[in-house]
């Protein structure tokens, strides 16, 4: 028996089961063990009478292949070690988690505030990211969207124009860089044949559109080459939404639609994923509508191309530039101002996302700042709380926890808070996304499809991880390094907030600086919005209602039939007691756009100018209260057969006839009403005030008005019927407008709204940005105040003893409060200085979104500084007063 060996001395030391060994040590251990076996076996053989050498050899033989055996043992031992290491790590993590959870639960108030803070920060980011992700990154739901390019003609001055048909044909035939190019245009058209007549976008598209966008039909077929020929049968493809909403999703074989007088058969349904150009319900082969203009200055078509594999935009640009330069030479007589000199290419995604991109990125950045503030806030609170935990941490350190272990412990606490914050944050984000979907402006493409998906969740996880590091790491390292004796020593000579003056200045100051950036940014938007909505419109919007109207050209063949119809309706409306005046106009003010082109002056076809072109009845100008400055309005004298007349806007008169009387001068619409072969010049009979036609933020354009009775060309594709209420309540005119039009022609789709609503709609996108950014900056302000309050009250709480001594020694209570407030305000002011500089530069990023406000607007900057300064003063004064309202004797006895 050899049990007694167990009691032998352990001179090589214990090898506990959790002791980790290196690879070399393991091999050594195994080899020593096997060698020991051989030796002991040999000892026994020798005792049995073997010679020493033979005994050793026999012992080895009996054991077998020693190195193979060692190898097997080493493998097992190594896998054992790995398992031990894993268990050890898991144990440590579980231990940290348990400890962290206990700590978090022990102060539920702090945990609640922390989780809430993080939830708001992470929620805001999750929501903004899902919008950015959905709108900017996934805005083109077509195969290989990066290959899709918008092609426009470049003017001499570098501006862009739509393409002329012949130029498009030449590009398509001569280029080697595109797989396919298509031309298209789209305009609102009255479509009859569904459940009700609707005005919707009908696009004319050239052959190849479906393969450029990679569309497969939902029902039926798409248009094919045989449809895309001059004189081809009138066939159309409808959108999924039109098919469901207006055709009841029924079989399409029998369906025929009336498109502004053209009867067409529906041959197929395009899936909802295909939405180009945006909001199109009907696609029609443009070739079938007849031969196209042979003028290279007739800019009627938008063009999209799909680049060949491996071709970049620059190369395509060069090649099309060269083709364009060559082909325009065939038209030497064309007006050089309107002849292309090359092309401007832009990725289609850029075009679709357009101005929404910058706004969304600014908002995402703002959400990021909010989260950064939330992190700073938590970091300072953790640090402040940590001051009370130095003893606990010192005990842990003395029990053998190394610095890295302490950091891990503290980070785990932060991670628990962050995880809870992230969970709540995704919930907040979901609510916010829902709110954005419901209230967001229509100008943001694909907003309705935005949702929280996998990539958004991944983003939230990454953000949470970063957040934890941001707010947890700094205090963790600070606290793990600090030793109680340091804290004691520093305490007596630090500033009034305790020993960590610099850390706290960084944190509180940083928070204040970030908040100031947001407040100033949103302040700029608010000021810009205010100056925009209080802008001089040039007309009175308050008592006007209007509706777009589009008459079927089947029923109303001549443009003069249209004019007569509108006159009849206007007369009936003006007879109504609720209506003051009514009329028709080709463009509604603040309607988003204004047809602008070349006009000729003074009976001279060579004296030209560029201006807006509006066709109107006298009633419409009266209804809008556009002020008549000189001369007269249009009236019953101005008929088809009488000499043509025009009214010009004030700025038009000033530019073209400076210091002269515009009445009696002549003007004509040139290409704008080119169906007039003889192009008679019209005599100017009146001057009206300038009107903002495009939108609030765009200054008024020079405009020439022609009477609808003489030049109705532009109202036959759709016009606006306006009515001014007799009282001050615009909506009282809405019902008469609708019923009168419906009685006159029940097939007209109507969309009556007050002018005030239209204006609100035109600024909706700006308002939306302003409100969101405003919301973020309010959040930032709140977080900053909470942060300052927290730091001051914690530091006062940890220093009650010192306060007590000061008070006991006769210090004035007000003096002590002042001491605390002064050092807190030191941090706030530092933050304001840095934040002011940062806000000045951040303001430059907003420049494109501002209206009549400078990015460095001093009023906004000062306002922001005052708001934060006062908030900071309150947030430090209140806890200072509360904290010093202690009996000195009580606090001194407490220790």
């Amino acid at each position: 028996m050899i049990d007694d060996a167990a009691r032998g001395s352990r001179r090589t030391g214990g090898q506990g089961k959790r002791r980790l060994l290196s690879k070399a040590t393991i091999r050594d251990d195994v080899e020593r063990e096997l060698e020991a076996h051989v030796r002991m076996r040999a000892d026994e053989l020798v005792a049995d009478g073997w010679a020493e050498e033979e005994g050793l050899a026999e012992a080895r033989r009996l054991l077998g292949d020693q190195s193979e055996l060692a190898e097997a043992c080493v493998e097992i031992a190594k896998s054992h070690q790995r398992a031990v290491r894993r268990t050890k790590a898991m144990d440590a993590i579980m231990q940290d988690l348990r400890y962290g959870l206990r700590t978090v639960v022990r102060s539920p108030g702090f945990a609640l505030v922390a989780v809430l803070t993080l939830a708001l920060g992470i929620g805001a980011n999750t929501a903004m990211f899902s919008v950015v992700d959905g709108v900017l990154l996934e805005s083109l739901p077509y195969p290989d969207p990066e290959e899709l390019v918008d092609v426009r003609e470049a003017r001499q001055d570098g501006g862009s124009m739509s393409a002329a048909w012949l130029n498009f044909v030449d590009w398509r035939e001569q280029n080697t860089v595109f797989d396919e190019m298509v031309a298209y245009t789209s305009f609102p058209t009255t479509v009859i044949g569904g459940d009700e007549p609707v005005t919707t976008n009908v696009a004319m598209v050239s052959q190849g559109v479906w393969s450029v966008f990679g569309v497969t039909p939902l029902q039926g077929r798409l248009t094919v080459e045989a449809d895309h020929v001059v004189g081809g049968a009138a066939v159309v493809v409808v959108s999924e939404s039109y098919w469901r909403n207006q055709l009841g999703a029924r079989p399409i074989e029998e369906v025929r639609l009336d498109l502004n007088g053209v009867r067409a058969s529906v041959v197929g349904v395009a899936p909802a994923t295909f939405d180009y150009p945006m909001d199109t319900d009907v696609w029609q082969p443009l070739e079938s509508t007849g031969p196209q203009s042979s003028s290279r200055t007739a800019h009627n078509w938008r063009v999209v191309g799909r680049l060949r594999d491996g071709v970049d935009v620059e190369r395509a640009d060069e090649e099309l530039d060269a083709i364009t330069a060559r082909v325009v030479l065939t038209e030497p007589d064309a007006d050089p101002d309107f002849l292309a000199v090359g092309v401007n290419l832009q990725s289609l995604r850029e075009l679709v996302v357009g101005s929404a991109r910058w706004t969304l990125l600014v908002l995402l950045g703002a959400a990021g700042l909010v989260l950064l503030i939330a992190c700073t806030n938590l970091a300072s609170t953790l640090l402040a709380r940590g001051a009370n935990r130095t003893r606990e941490l010192a005990v842990r350190a003395s029990m053998g926890a190394g610095q890295s272990r302490l950091v891990r412990l503290l980070i785990t606490e932060s991670l628990i808070l962050a995880a809870a914050g992230a969970a709540a944050g995704v919930g907040v984000g979901w609510l916010l996304v829902d709110l954005l979907r419901r209230t967001g402006p229509a100008t943001v493409p694909r907003l309705q499809d935005v949702g929280i998906d996998g990539s958004v969740l991944l983003f939230a996880v990454v953000v949470t991880g970063l957040t934890t590091l941001l707010f947890g790491l700094f205090p963790a390292i600070r606290l793990a390094r600090s030793r109680p004796q340091d804290a004691l020593r520093q305490g007596s000579r630090g500033n009034a907030l305790g020993g960590r003056g610099l850390s706290w200045t960084l944190l509180v100051g940083g928070e204040v600086a970030l908040a100031l950036v947001l407040i100033v940014g949103s302040g700029l938007l608010v000021r810009s919005f205010r100056s925009m909505v209080s802008v001089e419109l040039g007309f009175d919007a308050s008592d006007v209602v209007s509706t777009p109207v589009s008459l079927s050209r089947l029923k109303y063949e001549s443009p003069f039939d249209h004019a007569a119809f509108y006159d009849r309706v206007a007369q009936e409306l003006e007879a109504h007691p609720a209506i003051e005046s009514a009329g028709v106009i080709s463009r509604i003010p603040v309607g988003g756009s204004l047809p602008t082109g070349r006009l000729e002056l003074d009976d001279n076809m060579d004296r030209t100018t560029v201006a807006g072109y509006v066709v109107t009845s006298a009633g419409a100008l009266e209804a809008l209260d556009v002020p008549l400055l000189r001369g007269r309005h249009f009236d019953e004298r101005d008929r088809e057969e009488t000499p043509h007349v025009a009214i010009v806007s004030e700025s038009f008169a000033q530019e073209n006839w400076p210091g002269q009387d515009p009445i009696g001068r002549t003007v004509t619409g040139g290409g704008m009403d080119n169906f007039w072969e003889e192009r008679p010049f019209a005599q100017v009979v009146g001057v009206v005030g300038d009107v903002r036609y495009v939108e609030l933020g765009v200054p008024p354009r020079k405009v020439v008005y022609f009477p609808h009775t003489q030049r109705p060309f532009r109202i036959q594709f759709g016009a606006i019927m306006v009515a001014e209420a007799a009282g001050s309540d615009a909506s009282s005119a809405a019902v008469p407008l609708r019923t009168t039009l419906e009685t006159a022609d029940p097939d007209i789709p109507l969309e009556v709204s007050t002018q005030t609503e239209l204006i609100a709609e035109s600024v909706a996108s700006r308002e939306f940005t302003m409100l969101l950014l405003g919301g973020f900056s309010l959040l930032a302000l709140t977080l900053a105040v909470v942060g300052i309050y927290g730091v001051v009250s914690y530091s006062v709480a940890t220093r009650t003893r010192e306060m007590g001594i000061r008070l006991a020694l006769g210090a004035d209570r007000t003096g002590v409060v002042q001491l605390v407030v002064r050092s807190a305000m030191g941090m706030v002011v530092a933050g304001l200085v840095v934040g002011g500089l940062a806000a000045y530069f951040a303001g430059q990023l907003l420049e494109g979104m501002l209206y009549e406000v400078e990015p460095g607007d001093p009023l906004t900057l000062v306002g922001g500084v005052l708001i934060l300064g006062i908030a900071g003063l309150g947030a430090s004064w209140i806890p200072a007063v509360l904290g010093t309202r202690v009996d000195p004797m009580v606090t001194m006895r407490a220790e």
């Binding site: 049990d3 030391g13 089961k17 033989r61």
Partner: protein
């Protein structure tokens, strides 16, 4: 622990030391034997093989080589622990002892083994009577 029903195919080295044909261990039973040898107290590897020989009167032989990987596996599974010490002959040796888990494992393995043996005996006894 699994107790196999088939005999181990492993070649067994019979030294001149073994005077008569020993029984091969059934696959998987080596673990029980090792745990059993440690029941009385810590032993080193060579001690274990000695003890098996002594206890079974050399009816049962353990492949000396197989012993060490088996011990390492038991250690990995947490049934034994080891530490270096000095043998009664004054040599460095690695001593193994049972852990509480090992003791439980041994008890349950012995129980299973006994039920197995009695079942086998009944089957074989019945067959011989038939």
């Amino acid at each position: 622990m699994i107790i196999g029903l088939t005999a181990a195919p492993a070649p067994t080295t019979y030294g001149p030391y073994m005077s008569r044909q020993s029984l091969e261990l059934l696959k998987g039973t080596l673990d029980i034997v090792l745990l059993k040898t440690l029941e009385a107290g810590p032993r080193h590897g060579y001690g274990i093989s000695r003890w098996v020989r002594d206890a079974t009167g050399e009816d049962l032989s353990i492949d000396e080589g197989a012993l060490y990987p088996a011990l390492r596996r038991l250690e990995k599974r947490g049934f034994v622990e080891s530490e270096w010490g000095v043998s009664d002959t004054g040599r460095d040796a690695k001593f193994y002892h049972l852990t509480p888990d090992g003791e439980r494992e041994l008890a349950s393995a012995v129980d299973t083994w006994e039920r197995y043996v009695s079942a086998m005996s009944r089957v074989l006894g019945a067959a011989s009577r038939a």
